[in-house]
Amino acid sequence: MAGRWQWLHRLGSPRWFYATTTRWLPWLAGAMALLLAVGTVWALLYLPPDYQQGDTSRILVVHVAVAGASLSFFPLMAVAGTVTLVWRIKLADMVAKNAAPLGAWFSFLTLATGSIWGSVSWGTWWEWTDSRLVSMLFQFFLLLGVISLRAALDNSATAARACALLSIVGCINVVVIKYSVQWWNTLHQPPSPISMQVGSPNGPEFWVATAIMAVAVYLFLALSLILATRNEILERESKAQWVRELALGAT
């Protein structure tokens, strides 16, 4: 038992995580900035306007990238939660704790950008009968629920376990969001099949821009989550010698 899972415990050491991410941060930030710039310039200046949507198709590059990444939060929190429940590795819970508010931001931006796009293309800002819209709103509320649950429980170990369970159950909603457009197709369109033909719906001029933006958004997700987790480590390990030395050296 001890031997087989030792690698996991080593990976779960907050100090190891902190030192490793210190080396990663500049690369992560550099790659994110580059791809974000390329994706944004492409979407705003080079993407041809859609024959139906006009220039509002530029919105979709951001919307699709952010929406896709927003679906990764519950699976991420569920994996971290499982590690918390089974191996009681504190680092996993620190990641899960900081993923919830970031996921709420992602869900909110998905709803806001979709709504702003829909106000033109659908002629409505919101539609309660559309399953995709409602299930995404539900994910936003579920994430607020995870945040409140942790805040409401005084015992941090109990809070971690409760949030882990809710995160695992919350994954069901991710499946619902994903397949909602196929199961109950009302307003939101199903994913467009990618095409190699320039000028066709979802041709390379659109999906390559979206793919670049999607990678940029995932890098941003990783960067923001790592920064927040590092803060959590500094606070939870503030009595450790290496954190003290870091604080003295940094000021």
Partner: protein, 99 residues
Amino acid sequence: MLAELQFDSLQEFLAMGGYAFNVWSVYALFAVFVFANLALPLRRRRLILRRLAARGDLAQSPAAAEQSGWEVSTVGEELQEQQREQKEQREQEEQGTKP
């Protein structure tokens, strides 16, 4: 062509084919979202480090540091050495004044 500039003038670019509000509000929201979720953790980090550095008990006893589960660094050892020397000196002084 995969990448062709779509606008002839700055005015045309800003107008976004009549959808200026929709396109620009989305990109503004996106910019705020990216900026906020990087700037806020960085600001919090500065505050945490400043608070930790300002705390009086930073040069805490090595025994407590050992208890925290992390290996004790040389800074702690030096401190321990110093304290031991001071204690010995004090004891010698006390012995000198007794008889």
